[in-house]
């Protein structure tokens, strides 16, 4: 019974982690950017969805849509106003671009977080789920929303897989991650590819944020933790490797759920951190990463 409960809860959490980390790793893989405003963007998506659906009274579907739109707008802004100017700036030496992008996105994340806290307070908010009700799976009470979360997460990841592997545009993304210069030589405009990647990222982070808001509830104080968990999953799986991130998301999700159920919820994240340190020392490229 408990085993089944862990299996179901862990699966839902893990798929959500997988979705959140996919966007994060995609950006890193294609354009080499670690976006530290990731958690804040997810929070914005969730809070806007909550506001539009609840206070504004537009219903959960419009709310979810508004949340994703807000996340898309934030992602776009992050790229145009922060990441791209830093990458193109002549006065920042090349080897320091990375730290500037990190600091810049970190500050932007704090700004988003504070703006949310100011406008909507930092109380935890639960987005109205798209579907309500519970079902019994072999005697375990499971909210329908939990199943929907897993299904939607995987649907989004599946669509991304099709996009990257089956369409011409998607293949150019893949090519950009392997050899950006070669791609420009073939007449592709790199900046348009980057805009596209950030757009995909915005949508993925938005969906993840809204689902998280409906599943566990979100407060603006969670932004840092969300970024840290995406960062850990991505490093555990291997930076830039999408399949590695998916695998790592499940490892992290199940490890956390098991710790919470079997030992104590208060040390939920500790085993993951220890595992992370061990993996990084023994195999710095992560589970499936290339060096």
């Amino acid at each position: 019974m408990l085993a089944l409960q862990i299996l179901i809860d862990g699966f839902a959490i893990s798929s959500l982690y997988a979705l959140g980390a996919t966007g994060f790793t995609l950006i890193f893989g294609v354009s080499g950017v670690l976006n530290l405003s990731h958690g804040a963007i997810m929070v914005v998506a969730a809070v806007i969805a909550w506001w539009v659906a609840g206070t504004f009274g537009a219903g959960p579907y419009l709310g979810a849509l508004a949340g994703v739109a807000a996340s898309l707008a934030c992602a776009f802004f992050t790229y145009r106003v922060i990441v791209r100017p830093i990458q193109n700036s002549p006065s920042i030496p090349r080897e320091e671009k990375e730290i500037f992008v990190l600091t810049g996105t970190l500050l932007w994340g704090i700004m988003l977080q504070e703006a949310v806290a100011y406008l909507f307070t930092n109380n935890p908010k639960t987005v109205r789920p798209l579907v309500e009700g519970v079902v019994m799976i072999l005697g375990v009470r499971t909210p329908l929303n939990e199943i929907l979360t897993a299904v939607l997460s995987w649907a989004a990841i599946g669509l991304l897989y099709l996009l990257v592997n089956r369409t011409r545009t998607g293949k150019s993304l893949l090519a950009a991650s392997m050899n950006p210069r070669g791609l420009t030589l073939l007449g592709f405009e790199l900046s348009r590819i980057y805009v596209l990647v950030w757009a995909i990222y915005g949508v993925l982070a938005g969906i993840a944020g809204v689902l998280l808001g409906a599943f566990l509830g979100v407060s603006s104080d969670n932004a840092g933790t969300l970024t840290a968990s995406a960062f850990s999953i991505v490093v555990l799986g291997g930076l830039g490797s999408v399949s590695g991130s998916l695998m790592a998301a499940y490892v992290v999700g199940y490890l956390e759920t098991m710790t919470a159920y079997l030992i104590s919820p208060s040390i939920r994240t500790v085993p993951v951190l220890l595992l992370l340190v061990a993996v990084v020392y023994v195999r710095p490229q992560g589970l499936l990463g290339r060096r």
Binding site: S89, E98, T103, L107, E114, V270, L273, Y281
Partner: protein
């Protein structure tokens, strides 16, 4: 040395700061005291980042280890303050070395992540053993540095000046140049016969020493050690913002950035919750438009040294 621009800026500034207690209220002195300890955090971070090129996302790991070692010794064994400070600094160096020896094999984001995880683990440990460490509420200390504002202010000012002078001198010494070379191109530096790993480890230990010592002094100034003041990720983020804002690779800039951050937080206090937003926005604008930071701008304006 006496004619260098840095010297011409720093000495008058120090004189002004030393004279401040004559005409400023105790409240402002208290803020500046805090800012001076932060300045030491930021300067030690700058040595590691600006010179060795390693992004330490967890300055508050080193600060926290130093602070809590001192706090526990003082709270449970009633050690007097000086040995507590020494023990805190030593503990931070040991913790830094334990963290750095394996971590320096890693580069870029991996090193950053390990240092970040170190902070999260320390925070978890402190909260889990709340019975001993006081957890989120904190651990009060039987001893404080002084109850007099002026004395506290001078302790902090002289501590900052001495640490700053040592760190600055180090950064301009041959060792500092080797560090800088290893940060910019580790392979070439190694090819020139320098032991990159050894120098980076030394930089990490020095950074840890000053962070730990400053952390320990800070809690004896505050009279209590709590996760929120010395370990939280937010503390580390502030240190990083201060160093980048003031101008990386200048050491002095990190101190300027810290004082600015604390002062800005205070000036913007009427804005309430929005003050963090405004401070972050200002820092972001500085990074985007003046990547050299305050000191970078100031030093450049008068020609290179």
């Amino acid at each position: 040395m006496f004619r260098s621009r840095t010297f011409q800026i720093v000495v008058p500034a120090l004189v002004v700061m030393a004279l401040l207690p004559l005409g400023v209220s105790g409240y402002i002195l208290g803020l500046l005291t805090l800012a001076y300890y932060y300045a030491v955090f930021a300067m030690s971070w700058d040595l590691l980042f600006g010179f060795a090129g390693e992004v330490n996302f967890g300055p508050s790991f080193l600060i926290g280890v130093g602070a809590y070692t001192a706090a526990l010794l003082n709270h449970y064994w009633l050690w007097p303050i000086p040995p507590c400070l020494a023990a805190g600094a030593v503990a931070a160096v040991v913790a830094g070395a334990v963290l750095a020896v394996p971590a320096l094999r890693l580069t870029g984001p991996y090193f950053g992540l390990v240092t970040l995880v170190a902070v999260l683990l320390l925070q978890n440990v402190l909260v889990l053993f709340a019975g001993i460490t006081g957890g989120e509420i904190g651990l009060d200390l039987p001893d404080v540095l002084s109850i007099d504002d002026n004395t506290n202010y001078y302790y902090a000012l002289s501590f900052m000046t001495v640490s700053g002078a040592i760190l600055y001198g180090l950064s301009r010494s041959p060792v500092g140049l080797i560090l800088q070379a290893s940060g910019q191109d580790a392979i070439e530096a190694a090819a020139l016969g320098f032991n990159v790993a050894k120098h980076k480890l030394a930089a990490f230990c020095i950074s840890a020493f000053f962070s730990g010592l400053a952390g320990a002094m800070l809690i004896f100034y505050l009279g209590t050690a709590s996760v929120g003041t010395v370990v939280d990720i937010a503390v580390g983020v502030n240190v990083i913002i201060a160093a980048v804002l003031g101008g990386r690779r200048t050491i002095i800039g990190a101190a300027v950035g810290s004082i600015f951050l604390i002062a800005a937080g205070e000036v913007l206090r009427p804005l309430g919750q929005l003050s963090t937003f405004v401070v972050s926005a200002v820092a972001l604008i500085v990074i985007l438009f003046f990547p050299g930071g305050f000191m970078g701008r100031l030093l450049q304006a008068g020609g290179r040294e």
